[in-house]
Protein backbone atom coordinates (compact mmCIF):
# COMPACT_ATOMS: atom_id res chain seq x y z
CA UNK A 1 0.00 0.00 0.00
CA UNK A 2 2.88 2.31 0.57
CA UNK A 3 5.11 1.34 -2.34
CA UNK A 4 4.30 4.52 -4.20
CA UNK A 5 5.27 6.58 -1.21
CA UNK A 6 8.42 4.56 -0.69
CA UNK A 7 9.38 5.03 -4.31
CA UNK A 8 8.70 8.74 -4.11
CA UNK A 9 10.94 9.10 -1.09
CA UNK A 10 13.69 7.00 -2.66
CA UNK A 11 13.62 9.21 -5.73
CA UNK A 12 13.63 12.31 -3.59
CA UNK A 13 16.48 11.11 -1.40
CA UNK A 14 18.54 10.27 -4.47
CA UNK A 15 18.78 14.00 -5.13
CA UNK A 16 21.26 14.31 -2.29
CA UNK A 17 24.87 14.38 -3.31
CA UNK A 18 27.18 11.85 -1.76
CA UNK A 19 29.62 14.32 -0.35
CA UNK A 20 32.20 13.10 2.14
CA UNK A 21 31.47 14.20 5.66
CA UNK A 22 34.03 16.46 7.29
CA UNK A 23 34.86 14.34 10.31
CA UNK A 24 37.47 16.77 11.59
CA UNK A 25 34.90 19.55 11.87
CA UNK A 26 32.52 17.27 13.70
CA UNK A 27 35.20 16.09 16.09
CA UNK A 28 36.31 19.65 16.79
CA UNK A 29 32.77 20.73 17.58
CA UNK A 30 32.21 17.61 19.64
CA UNK A 31 35.34 18.17 21.69
CA UNK A 32 34.23 21.67 22.47
CA UNK A 33 30.85 20.43 23.59
CA UNK A 34 32.23 17.59 25.66
CA UNK A 35 34.43 19.91 27.57
CA UNK A 36 32.16 22.86 27.81
CA UNK A 37 28.61 23.91 27.77
CA UNK A 38 26.67 24.31 24.64
CA UNK A 39 25.63 27.81 25.48
CA UNK A 40 29.30 28.74 25.43
CA UNK A 41 29.54 27.47 21.89
CA UNK A 42 26.21 28.98 21.04
CA UNK A 43 27.32 31.39 18.42
CA UNK A 44 29.09 28.71 16.48
CA UNK A 45 26.10 26.45 16.85
CA UNK A 46 23.77 29.14 15.72
CA UNK A 47 26.00 29.86 12.77
CA UNK A 48 25.93 26.20 11.87
CA UNK A 49 22.18 26.31 11.65
CA UNK A 50 22.15 29.46 9.61
CA UNK A 51 20.83 31.67 12.34
CA UNK A 52 23.77 33.98 12.63
CA UNK A 53 26.89 34.63 10.66
CA UNK A 54 29.65 33.97 13.20
CA UNK A 55 31.76 35.76 15.73
CA UNK A 56 31.02 38.30 18.39
CA UNK A 57 31.87 41.94 17.98
CA UNK A 58 31.92 44.43 20.77
CA UNK A 59 29.59 47.31 20.23
CA UNK A 60 29.03 50.40 22.25
CA UNK A 61 27.51 49.41 25.58
CA UNK A 62 23.87 50.11 26.06
CA UNK A 63 23.19 53.33 27.86
CA UNK A 64 21.53 53.92 31.16
CA UNK A 65 23.76 51.88 33.45
CA UNK A 66 25.66 53.58 36.21
CA UNK A 67 29.10 52.89 37.67
CA UNK A 68 28.84 51.22 41.02
CA UNK A 69 29.39 53.28 44.12
CA UNK A 70 32.41 52.56 46.26
CA UNK A 71 31.48 49.89 48.73
CA UNK A 72 30.36 47.32 46.24
CA UNK A 73 27.21 45.61 45.10
CA UNK A 74 24.78 43.40 46.95
CA UNK A 75 25.06 40.29 44.80
CA UNK A 76 22.48 38.47 46.91
CA UNK A 77 19.76 40.51 45.22
CA UNK A 78 19.47 38.58 41.98
CA UNK A 79 19.85 40.77 38.91
CA UNK A 80 20.49 40.16 35.21
CA UNK A 81 24.19 40.15 34.48
CA UNK A 82 26.47 40.14 31.47
CA UNK A 83 29.90 41.51 30.68
CA UNK A 84 31.37 43.37 27.76
CA UNK A 85 35.11 43.95 27.83
CA UNK A 86 36.14 44.91 31.33
CA UNK A 87 32.65 46.04 32.29
CA UNK A 88 30.46 43.65 34.25
CA UNK A 89 26.82 44.62 34.24
CA UNK A 90 24.81 43.69 37.30
CA UNK A 91 21.29 44.96 37.09
CA UNK A 92 21.61 48.65 36.37
CA UNK A 93 25.01 48.83 38.04
CA UNK A 94 28.31 48.32 36.30
CA UNK A 95 31.62 47.15 37.65
CA UNK A 96 34.88 48.15 36.03
CA UNK A 97 37.12 45.09 36.27
CA UNK A 98 40.89 45.38 36.17
CA UNK A 99 41.08 43.37 32.94
CA UNK A 100 38.66 42.38 30.16
CA UNK A 101 36.49 39.52 31.33
CA UNK A 102 36.96 36.25 29.43
CA UNK A 103 34.64 34.22 31.65
CA UNK A 104 32.92 34.80 34.97
CA UNK A 105 30.54 33.44 37.56
CA UNK A 106 28.46 34.98 40.33
CA UNK A 107 28.12 34.03 43.95
CA UNK A 108 25.94 35.81 46.50
CA UNK A 109 29.02 37.84 47.43
CA UNK A 110 30.69 38.81 44.22
CA UNK A 111 31.88 37.98 40.74
CA UNK A 112 34.80 35.68 40.04
CA UNK A 113 36.31 36.22 36.62
CA UNK A 114 39.19 35.03 34.49
CA UNK A 115 41.01 37.24 32.03
CA UNK A 116 42.66 36.22 28.78
CA UNK A 117 45.82 35.09 30.55
CA UNK A 118 43.89 32.86 32.95
CA UNK A 119 44.33 35.06 35.99
CA UNK A 120 41.35 34.63 38.29
CA UNK A 121 40.09 37.60 40.26
CA UNK A 122 37.32 38.24 42.72
CA UNK A 123 35.49 41.52 42.44
CA UNK A 124 32.72 42.86 44.60
CA UNK A 125 32.44 46.19 42.90
CA UNK A 126 34.88 47.72 45.38
CA UNK A 127 38.10 46.51 43.83
CA UNK A 128 39.60 43.33 42.45
CA UNK A 129 41.67 40.69 44.20
CA UNK A 130 43.74 38.08 42.38
CA UNK A 131 42.82 34.67 43.74
CA UNK A 132 44.28 32.12 41.31
CA UNK A 133 44.85 31.02 37.77
CA UNK A 134 43.03 28.75 35.33
CA UNK A 135 43.91 27.30 31.99
CA UNK A 136 43.03 30.22 29.71
CA UNK A 137 42.04 27.87 26.90
CA UNK A 138 39.10 26.70 28.97
CA UNK A 139 38.71 29.38 31.66
CA UNK A 140 36.13 27.29 33.47
CA UNK A 141 34.83 28.74 36.72
CA UNK A 142 31.94 27.62 38.90
CA UNK A 143 30.16 29.18 41.87
CA UNK A 144 27.15 28.78 44.09
CA UNK A 145 24.87 31.55 42.90
CA UNK A 146 23.06 31.64 46.22
CA UNK A 147 26.05 31.04 48.46
CA UNK A 148 29.64 31.95 49.09
CA UNK A 149 31.77 29.33 47.40
CA UNK A 150 33.45 29.40 44.00
CA UNK A 151 35.77 26.79 42.54
CA UNK A 152 38.06 26.11 39.61
CA UNK A 153 41.02 23.96 38.65
CA UNK A 154 43.93 26.12 39.68
CA UNK A 155 47.14 26.00 37.69
CA UNK A 156 49.11 28.52 39.71
CA UNK A 157 51.46 25.87 41.02
CA UNK A 158 53.23 23.08 39.19
CA UNK A 159 50.59 20.59 40.25
CA UNK A 160 47.03 21.58 39.34
CA UNK A 161 44.57 21.54 42.21
CA UNK A 162 40.90 22.02 42.86
CA UNK A 163 40.71 25.45 44.45
CA UNK A 164 37.72 26.58 46.48
CA UNK A 165 37.28 30.25 47.28
CA UNK A 166 35.06 31.71 49.95
CA UNK A 167 33.87 34.85 48.18
CA UNK A 168 32.62 36.34 51.43
CA UNK A 169 36.19 36.58 52.70
CA UNK A 170 38.20 36.36 49.51
CA UNK A 171 40.22 33.49 50.95
CA UNK A 172 40.94 30.09 49.46
CA UNK A 173 39.45 27.58 51.85
CA UNK A 174 40.36 24.36 50.06
CA UNK A 175 43.08 23.29 47.71
CA UNK A 176 42.72 19.64 46.77
CA UNK A 177 45.29 17.85 44.62
CA UNK A 178 43.76 16.41 41.47
CA UNK A 179 44.70 13.31 39.54
CA UNK A 180 45.88 14.25 36.13
CA UNK A 181 45.36 11.90 33.18
CA UNK A 182 48.48 10.08 32.13
CA UNK A 183 50.16 11.61 29.14
CA UNK A 184 49.94 9.56 26.00
CA UNK A 185 48.78 9.39 22.44
CA UNK A 186 45.08 9.13 23.15
CA UNK A 187 42.02 10.96 22.02
CA UNK A 188 39.93 11.20 25.11
CA UNK A 189 38.27 14.52 25.83
CA UNK A 190 37.44 13.27 29.27
CA UNK A 191 41.09 13.10 30.06
CA UNK A 192 41.05 16.43 31.73
CA UNK A 193 40.17 17.98 34.99
CA UNK A 194 37.24 20.30 35.36
CA UNK A 195 34.72 21.53 37.89
CA UNK A 196 31.08 20.81 37.10
CA UNK A 197 29.23 22.70 39.80
CA UNK A 198 29.29 24.24 43.25
CA UNK A 199 26.24 23.89 45.46
CA UNK A 200 26.56 25.06 49.02
CA UNK A 201 29.48 23.15 50.48
CA UNK A 202 29.41 20.55 47.70
CA UNK A 203 31.83 20.83 44.80
CA UNK A 204 31.38 18.34 41.97
CA UNK A 205 34.36 17.85 39.74
CA UNK A 206 36.06 15.45 37.36
CA UNK A 207 39.62 14.23 37.31
CA UNK A 208 41.38 11.03 36.42
CA UNK A 209 39.80 9.29 39.41
CA UNK A 210 36.34 9.99 37.99
CA UNK A 211 33.54 12.27 39.13
CA UNK A 212 33.99 13.33 42.73
CA UNK A 213 32.23 15.35 45.36
CA UNK A 214 34.13 17.53 47.80
CA UNK A 215 32.54 18.53 51.07
CA UNK A 216 34.09 21.94 51.55
CA UNK A 217 33.23 22.02 55.25
CA UNK A 218 35.06 18.81 56.09
CA UNK A 219 37.47 18.56 53.20
CA UNK A 220 36.31 15.02 52.54
CA UNK A 221 36.20 13.94 48.89
CA UNK A 222 34.08 11.07 47.62
CA UNK A 223 34.48 9.46 44.22
CA UNK A 224 30.97 9.13 42.78
CA UNK A 225 31.70 7.60 39.43
CA UNK A 226 35.08 6.00 38.78
CA UNK A 227 34.15 5.71 35.11
CA UNK A 228 33.71 9.42 34.74
CA UNK A 229 33.29 9.20 31.00
CA UNK A 230 29.72 8.07 31.53
CA UNK A 231 28.67 11.05 33.49
CA UNK A 232 28.74 14.77 33.21
CA UNK A 233 26.87 17.27 35.32
CA UNK A 234 24.87 20.04 33.71
CA UNK A 235 24.07 21.91 36.91
CA UNK A 236 23.52 21.66 40.65
CA UNK A 237 21.63 23.86 43.05
CA UNK A 238 19.74 23.52 46.31
CA UNK A 239 20.71 19.89 46.58
CA UNK A 240 19.46 19.01 43.10
CA UNK A 241 21.87 17.68 40.50
CA UNK A 242 21.21 17.58 36.80
CA UNK A 243 23.38 15.03 35.05
CA UNK A 244 23.50 12.67 32.14
CA UNK A 245 24.43 9.08 31.53
CA UNK A 246 24.81 7.81 35.06
CA UNK A 247 24.75 4.07 35.62
CA UNK A 248 21.50 3.96 37.46
CA UNK A 249 19.46 0.83 37.57
CA UNK A 250 19.71 -2.88 37.22
CA UNK A 251 17.64 -2.83 34.06
CA UNK A 252 19.78 -0.08 32.58
CA UNK A 253 23.26 -1.33 33.26
CA UNK A 254 24.92 0.98 30.82
CA UNK A 255 24.78 4.70 30.60
CA UNK A 256 22.31 6.36 28.31
CA UNK A 257 23.29 8.52 25.42
CA UNK A 258 23.19 12.26 25.68
CA UNK A 259 19.57 12.68 24.71
CA UNK A 260 18.29 13.12 28.24
CA UNK A 261 19.22 14.48 31.61
CA UNK A 262 18.53 12.94 34.96
CA UNK A 263 17.65 14.72 38.14
CA UNK A 264 19.11 13.42 41.37
CA UNK A 265 19.83 14.69 44.82
CA UNK A 266 23.32 15.47 45.97
CA UNK A 267 22.55 13.46 49.09
CA UNK A 268 21.79 10.41 46.97
CA UNK A 269 24.90 10.64 44.87
CA UNK A 270 27.22 11.21 47.76
CA UNK A 271 26.75 7.66 48.96
CA UNK A 272 28.48 6.43 45.86
CA UNK A 273 25.74 3.85 45.54
CA UNK A 274 23.89 4.55 42.33
CA UNK A 275 21.31 1.93 43.15
CA UNK A 276 19.86 4.41 45.59
CA UNK A 277 18.83 6.57 42.66
CA UNK A 278 16.19 4.20 41.46
CA UNK A 279 13.70 6.30 39.57
CA UNK A 280 15.22 9.63 38.73
CA UNK A 281 13.27 12.26 36.91
CA UNK A 282 14.20 12.31 33.26
CA UNK A 283 14.22 15.38 31.06
CA UNK A 284 14.30 14.74 27.33
CA UNK A 285 16.91 17.11 26.00
CA UNK A 286 20.32 17.28 24.43
CA UNK A 287 21.23 20.22 26.60
CA UNK A 288 24.62 20.11 28.25
CA UNK A 289 23.94 23.05 30.49
CA UNK A 290 21.10 23.90 32.82
CA UNK A 291 20.58 26.86 35.09
CA UNK A 292 18.60 25.73 38.12
CA UNK A 293 16.34 28.10 40.00
CA UNK A 294 17.14 28.97 43.62
CA UNK A 295 14.97 26.11 44.88
CA UNK A 296 16.25 23.55 42.40
CA UNK A 297 12.68 22.86 41.34
CA UNK A 298 13.00 24.19 37.81
CA UNK A 299 15.74 24.45 35.29
CA UNK A 300 16.11 26.57 32.20
CA UNK A 301 17.87 24.66 29.47
CA UNK A 302 19.40 25.55 26.17
CA UNK A 303 17.27 22.96 24.50
CA UNK A 304 18.27 23.06 20.82
CA UNK A 305 19.15 26.71 21.31
CA UNK A 306 15.60 27.58 22.31
CA UNK A 307 14.50 28.97 25.64
CA UNK A 308 12.78 26.32 27.74
CA UNK A 309 12.07 25.67 31.40
CA UNK A 310 11.53 22.20 32.81
CA UNK A 311 10.34 20.92 36.16
CA UNK A 312 12.97 18.87 37.94
CA UNK A 313 10.19 17.07 39.80
CA UNK A 314 8.29 15.80 36.79
CA UNK A 315 10.62 16.33 33.86
CA UNK A 316 7.85 18.20 32.05
CA UNK A 317 8.38 21.46 30.24
CA UNK A 318 6.73 24.23 32.24
CA UNK A 319 7.66 27.31 30.24
CA UNK A 320 9.13 28.38 26.95
CA UNK A 321 8.48 31.27 24.69
CA UNK A 322 8.02 30.29 21.09
CA UNK A 323 7.77 33.92 20.10
CA UNK A 324 11.35 34.53 21.10
CA UNK A 325 13.91 34.59 18.30
CA UNK A 326 15.63 31.49 17.05
CA UNK A 327 18.62 31.59 19.32
CA UNK A 328 17.40 32.29 22.85
CA UNK A 329 19.01 30.64 25.82
CA UNK A 330 18.07 30.94 29.48
CA UNK A 331 21.15 31.26 31.66
CA UNK A 332 20.13 32.60 35.06
CA UNK A 333 17.25 33.11 37.48
CA UNK A 334 15.96 36.12 39.31
CA UNK A 335 13.61 36.23 42.26
CA UNK A 336 9.87 35.92 41.73
CA UNK A 337 9.96 33.14 39.15
CA UNK A 338 11.79 35.02 36.42
CA UNK A 339 14.54 33.82 34.16
CA UNK A 340 17.26 35.70 32.33
CA UNK A 341 17.60 34.88 28.67
CA UNK A 342 20.21 35.74 26.04
CA UNK A 343 18.38 36.38 22.81
CA UNK A 344 19.42 37.07 19.25
CA UNK A 345 16.53 38.93 17.69
CA UNK A 346 18.16 39.82 14.41
CA UNK A 347 20.23 37.76 12.07
CA UNK A 348 22.75 38.77 9.51
CA UNK A 349 26.36 39.49 8.77
CA UNK A 350 25.98 43.12 9.72
CA UNK A 351 26.76 43.43 13.42
CA UNK A 352 24.66 46.56 13.63
CA UNK A 353 21.68 44.49 12.66
CA UNK A 354 22.55 41.33 14.62
CA UNK A 355 22.69 42.17 18.27
CA UNK A 356 22.09 40.31 21.49
CA UNK A 357 19.35 41.35 23.83
CA UNK A 358 19.08 40.41 27.47
CA UNK A 359 15.50 39.33 28.10
CA UNK A 360 13.63 38.53 31.31
CA UNK A 361 10.82 35.96 31.16
CA UNK A 362 8.25 34.99 33.73
CA UNK A 363 7.64 31.35 34.63
CA UNK A 364 5.32 29.71 33.87
CA UNK A 365 3.55 32.50 31.97
CA UNK A 366 6.47 32.89 29.55
CA UNK A 367 5.89 36.60 29.25
CA UNK A 368 9.19 38.03 28.09
CA UNK A 369 10.37 41.62 28.18
CA UNK A 370 13.61 43.09 26.96
CA UNK A 371 15.83 44.12 29.85
CA UNK A 372 18.80 45.42 27.87
CA UNK A 373 18.72 45.83 24.12
CA UNK A 374 21.68 45.37 21.82
CA UNK A 375 24.34 44.75 24.44
CA UNK A 376 26.65 43.22 21.87
CA UNK A 377 26.57 42.48 18.17
CA UNK A 378 27.71 39.83 15.78
CA UNK A 379 29.86 40.03 12.75
CA UNK A 380 32.13 37.62 11.01
CA UNK A 381 35.58 38.23 12.37
CA UNK A 382 35.73 38.73 16.11
CA UNK A 383 34.88 36.53 19.03
CA UNK A 384 35.86 38.44 22.11
CA UNK A 385 34.48 40.86 24.58
CA UNK A 386 31.14 39.40 25.58
CA UNK A 387 30.60 37.07 28.52
CA UNK A 388 27.71 35.63 30.48
CA UNK A 389 27.91 34.41 34.08
CA UNK A 390 28.13 30.76 33.09
CA UNK A 391 31.79 30.27 33.91
CA UNK A 392 32.97 29.75 30.36
CA UNK A 393 33.92 32.01 27.51
CA UNK A 394 31.72 32.33 24.47
CA UNK A 395 32.94 31.21 21.09
Amino acid sequence: MTELLRAAMREHAADVDHEPTDVATIVAAGRRRVRGRRIAAGVAAAAATGIVAAGVAVLAPSGGDTPVATGGIDFSTLEPSWAVGEVIHYGRDTIEADEPVRSYVLSARGAVYADATGTVRLTTGAGDRTVGRVDPDAAILRADRGGDMAAWVDVSADAPALAVLDTSTGRLVRRVPVSMPAAGPSDNEFEEVLVFAVDGDAVLWLDDDGVSLLDVATGEATVLDPGGDRWSIAGARAGVVLHDGLVLTADRPEGEGGDRLFVSKVSELASGDYALVVRPTTIETYASYGALDPTGERVTLEDEDAYTVFSTSTGAQVAGALDLPGFSVGYDWLADDRTVVMSLPEVGEDSDASRIDIVVCTVPESVCTTYAEGVVGFNGDDSSGFALPIGEFLD
Binding site: L4, E11, A13, D15, V27, T49, F190, D229, E304
Partner: protein, 176 residues
Protein backbone atom coordinates in the same frame (compact mmCIF):
# COMPACT_ATOMS: atom_id res chain seq x y z
CA UNK B 1 38.88 6.17 32.25
CA UNK B 2 37.44 4.70 29.12
CA UNK B 3 39.04 5.65 25.86
CA UNK B 4 37.41 7.25 22.90
CA UNK B 5 38.30 5.48 19.70
CA UNK B 6 38.67 8.11 16.96
CA UNK B 7 39.10 5.50 14.25
CA UNK B 8 35.82 3.81 15.09
CA UNK B 9 33.99 7.12 15.15
CA UNK B 10 35.42 8.17 11.79
CA UNK B 11 34.51 4.82 10.30
CA UNK B 12 31.00 5.20 11.63
CA UNK B 13 30.64 8.70 10.20
CA UNK B 14 31.96 7.78 6.79
CA UNK B 15 29.99 4.58 6.65
CA UNK B 16 26.62 5.79 7.82
CA UNK B 17 26.57 9.44 6.77
CA UNK B 18 25.18 8.88 3.26
CA UNK B 19 22.08 7.11 4.54
CA UNK B 20 21.60 9.49 7.43
CA UNK B 21 22.04 12.45 5.10
CA UNK B 22 19.24 11.15 2.91
CA UNK B 23 16.98 10.77 5.91
CA UNK B 24 17.85 14.29 7.00
CA UNK B 25 17.08 15.57 3.52
CA UNK B 26 13.68 13.94 3.50
CA UNK B 27 12.95 15.53 6.85
CA UNK B 28 13.91 19.09 5.99
CA UNK B 29 13.71 19.20 2.20
CA UNK B 30 16.76 21.40 1.72
CA UNK B 31 20.26 20.15 0.99
CA UNK B 32 22.10 22.75 3.03
CA UNK B 33 19.82 22.39 6.00
CA UNK B 34 20.08 18.63 5.77
CA UNK B 35 23.86 18.89 5.90
CA UNK B 36 23.65 21.15 8.96
CA UNK B 37 21.20 18.75 10.54
CA UNK B 38 23.42 15.76 9.94
CA UNK B 39 26.45 17.57 11.29
CA UNK B 40 24.62 18.59 14.43
CA UNK B 41 23.43 15.03 14.98
CA UNK B 42 26.93 13.66 14.47
CA UNK B 43 28.34 16.15 16.96
CA UNK B 44 25.80 14.91 19.48
CA UNK B 45 26.81 11.36 18.63
CA UNK B 46 30.44 12.21 19.19
CA UNK B 47 29.61 13.57 22.64
CA UNK B 48 27.70 10.40 23.50
CA UNK B 49 30.12 8.04 21.78
CA UNK B 50 31.67 6.46 24.91
CA UNK B 51 28.18 5.51 26.10
CA UNK B 52 27.09 3.90 22.85
CA UNK B 53 27.69 0.21 22.94
CA UNK B 54 28.14 -0.54 19.25
CA UNK B 55 27.63 0.80 15.76
CA UNK B 56 23.98 -0.20 15.78
CA UNK B 57 23.36 1.79 18.93
CA UNK B 58 25.28 4.70 17.46
CA UNK B 59 23.21 4.71 14.29
CA UNK B 60 19.98 4.59 16.27
CA UNK B 61 21.24 7.40 18.42
CA UNK B 62 22.24 9.54 15.45
CA UNK B 63 18.95 8.92 13.69
CA UNK B 64 17.08 9.97 16.77
CA UNK B 65 19.24 13.07 17.01
CA UNK B 66 18.53 13.89 13.37
CA UNK B 67 14.78 13.60 13.89
CA UNK B 68 14.46 15.36 17.23
CA UNK B 69 16.78 18.13 16.12
CA UNK B 70 14.81 18.60 12.92
CA UNK B 71 11.57 18.84 14.86
CA UNK B 72 13.15 21.32 17.21
CA UNK B 73 14.44 23.43 14.32
CA UNK B 74 11.02 23.42 12.75
CA UNK B 75 9.53 24.61 15.99
CA UNK B 76 12.19 27.22 16.49
CA UNK B 77 11.98 28.57 12.98
CA UNK B 78 8.24 28.95 13.28
CA UNK B 79 7.68 26.18 10.79
CA UNK B 80 4.04 25.51 10.25
CA UNK B 81 2.03 23.20 8.14
CA UNK B 82 2.20 24.41 4.60
CA UNK B 83 -0.85 23.95 2.44
CA UNK B 84 -0.49 22.22 -0.86
CA UNK B 85 -1.17 24.93 -3.37
CA UNK B 86 -3.30 22.97 -5.78
CA UNK B 87 -4.28 19.51 -6.69
CA UNK B 88 -1.90 17.69 -8.98
CA UNK B 89 -3.35 15.44 -11.55
CA UNK B 90 -1.49 12.75 -13.38
CA UNK B 91 -1.85 12.78 -17.14
CA UNK B 92 -2.64 11.26 -19.44
CA UNK B 93 -5.33 9.24 -17.82
CA UNK B 94 -4.78 5.54 -18.16
CA UNK B 95 -1.04 5.75 -18.70
CA UNK B 96 -0.28 4.06 -15.40
CA UNK B 97 3.51 4.38 -15.46
CA UNK B 98 3.25 8.07 -16.28
CA UNK B 99 0.56 8.40 -13.67
CA UNK B 100 2.79 6.83 -11.10
CA UNK B 101 5.76 9.02 -11.99
CA UNK B 102 3.74 12.20 -11.72
CA UNK B 103 2.12 11.04 -8.52
CA UNK B 104 5.50 10.24 -7.02
CA UNK B 105 6.65 13.72 -7.89
CA UNK B 106 3.56 15.12 -6.31
CA UNK B 107 4.06 13.01 -3.23
CA UNK B 108 7.50 14.48 -2.75
CA UNK B 109 5.94 17.91 -2.59
CA UNK B 110 3.08 16.76 -0.43
CA UNK B 111 5.51 15.19 1.99
CA UNK B 112 7.01 18.62 2.55
CA UNK B 113 3.59 19.90 3.53
CA UNK B 114 3.09 17.47 6.38
CA UNK B 115 3.37 18.58 9.98
CA UNK B 116 6.85 17.86 11.37
CA UNK B 117 6.06 14.85 13.50
CA UNK B 118 3.83 13.33 10.83
CA UNK B 119 6.55 13.79 8.29
CA UNK B 120 9.13 12.27 10.60
CA UNK B 121 6.86 9.30 11.29
CA UNK B 122 6.33 8.69 7.58
CA UNK B 123 10.02 8.99 6.71
CA UNK B 124 11.09 6.69 9.52
CA UNK B 125 8.38 4.15 8.85
CA UNK B 126 8.44 3.98 5.06
CA UNK B 127 11.87 5.22 4.04
CA UNK B 128 14.03 3.96 6.87
CA UNK B 129 11.76 0.93 7.23
CA UNK B 130 11.66 1.10 10.99
CA UNK B 131 9.04 -0.83 12.89
CA UNK B 132 6.31 1.05 14.69
CA UNK B 133 8.07 0.35 17.97
CA UNK B 134 11.35 1.71 16.61
CA UNK B 135 9.66 4.83 15.30
CA UNK B 136 8.05 5.32 18.70
CA UNK B 137 11.46 5.07 20.34
CA UNK B 138 12.89 7.67 18.00
CA UNK B 139 10.00 10.07 18.43
CA UNK B 140 9.71 9.45 22.14
CA UNK B 141 6.04 8.58 22.02
CA UNK B 142 3.77 5.54 22.21
CA UNK B 143 3.28 3.08 19.38
CA UNK B 144 -0.34 4.16 19.25
CA UNK B 145 0.72 7.72 18.65
CA UNK B 146 2.98 6.61 15.82
CA UNK B 147 0.15 4.69 14.19
CA UNK B 148 -2.07 7.71 14.54
CA UNK B 149 0.57 10.03 13.08
CA UNK B 150 1.13 7.75 10.12
CA UNK B 151 -2.58 7.24 9.56
CA UNK B 152 -3.26 10.96 9.65
CA UNK B 153 -0.33 11.64 7.35
CA UNK B 154 -1.48 9.09 4.80
CA UNK B 155 -4.99 10.47 4.90
CA UNK B 156 -3.70 13.95 4.39
CA UNK B 157 -1.57 12.90 1.46
CA UNK B 158 -4.50 11.17 -0.13
CA UNK B 159 -7.12 13.82 0.46
CA UNK B 160 -5.08 16.53 -1.17
CA UNK B 161 -4.86 14.53 -4.39
CA UNK B 162 -7.05 15.39 -7.28
CA UNK B 163 -9.52 12.75 -8.37
CA UNK B 164 -7.30 11.12 -11.00
CA UNK B 165 -4.20 11.16 -8.83
CA UNK B 166 -6.25 9.79 -6.00
CA UNK B 167 -7.37 6.99 -8.24
CA UNK B 168 -3.73 6.23 -8.98
CA UNK B 169 -2.99 6.29 -5.29
CA UNK B 170 -5.91 4.01 -4.58
CA UNK B 171 -4.79 1.60 -7.29
CA UNK B 172 -1.38 1.47 -5.61
CA UNK B 173 -3.03 0.95 -2.30
CA UNK B 174 -5.15 -1.82 -3.71
CA UNK B 175 -2.10 -3.48 -5.23
CA UNK B 176 -0.10 -2.98 -2.06
Amino acid sequence: MARRDPTAFEAFVQGRSPALRRTAYLLVGERGLAEDLLQEALVKTYVAWPRLRDTGAAEAYTRKAVVTTAISWWRRKGWSERPTAEFVEPAPSGATEADAAVTRAWLREALDSLAPRQRAAVVLRFYDDLSVAEVAAVLGCSEGTVKSQVHDAMNRLRTTLGPDARATWDREVAVG
